[in-house]
Subunit: 104 residues, 4 copies
């Protein structure tokens, strides 16, 4: 699915400089997911579970928007500077990812 990614030098992924920060946020997100599971298992009140699901979705949006900004700043700008069709392909990919995010 990502030939582009595979031939790209991984050290250029935009989020790498902030990798630890992302991993911490995703650790918290895993904890939130586990917490929701436990709430259902403990038969907690429906509305409280829904509140936690909304919070988890917002946390995921924050991570996604951060990754996307890093991606535009690094991969897309690099591709634009290289010239040729690379930038177009990267932007098509990014636009499709944004569309999935807006609709999810």
């Amino acid at each position: 699915m990502t030939d582009i990614a595979d031939h790209a030098d991984h050290t250029h992924h935009g989020y790498i400089t902030e990798k630890d920060r992302y991993l911490n946020r995703l650790k918290r997100i895993e904890g939130q997911a586990r917490g929701i599971s436990r709430m259902v298992d403990d038969e907690k009140y429906c509305i409280d579970i829904l509140t936690q699901i909304s919070a988890l979705k917002s946390a995921l949006d924050a991570v996604a928007l951060g990754l996307l900004d890093d991606h535009l700043t690094h991969c897309v700008v690099d591709a634009a500077r290289e010239g040729g069709a690379a930038a177009e392909i990267k932007i098509k990919e990014a636009s499709d990812a944004i569309a999935r995010l807006v609709r999810s």
Copy 2:
């Protein structure tokens, strides 16, 4: 936060009859969250991580919409039948939860 929930008989929570199905879906969601963490740790391509985040958000929406439907079918209908202010309180709660979900 949910005095209403606390004094409600827990066996009436709408989702309880489907508890195992919800727990299975939430197990998968936990796995998806762990997978996203691993993708960042393995420095996978940004766009592929975003695709997985969108998929996780959609999975969370599906669980939330199921829980909400169960809640309306059981708690809200029961409260409406009991009469009094109980139904109004339940609907205010549900409307607030729906608003958080629509905006998350």
Copy 3:
């Protein structure tokens, strides 16, 4: 699609008591839509047009959440009190509408 609506007494629609307030908000929404059209015609900056589209979506969400709350408070509660299958049908309808709203 709305046999239920057609045989329901229209004066019971939840939003009717606030009809003027809804019509005012929708007048503003129409104005926002016209404004976005004008921005494209005047070749305004893309990002500013996107800001106006987000604002319009939020305004639509606010109207939708208001209508939904009115609907739950009136139609769904009434159906629940009448007993029978009416409440189930109403809740299925409402849940489907909520799902469309969450995903749009």
Copy 4:
């Protein structure tokens, strides 16, 4: 608000080549907004109004995603090629717009 836009040559706005197509879509969106107003005025069934609001939000998303793609393809790529801080500013703007869109 958009000094950047003002000093940019308007003929470079990404969406200009498709201006007529956008104007047609926005004409339809204005019609949808007017239709929703009329439904409330005619006291139509709540759920049917909600369906039309969801459809209008999806139509707005489609226009926004199109404009954003055009913007990335033209303005952001041009700025990246010019070098300097211009690309960073453009990407910050675009990321903020995407965040507003995801959250609206």
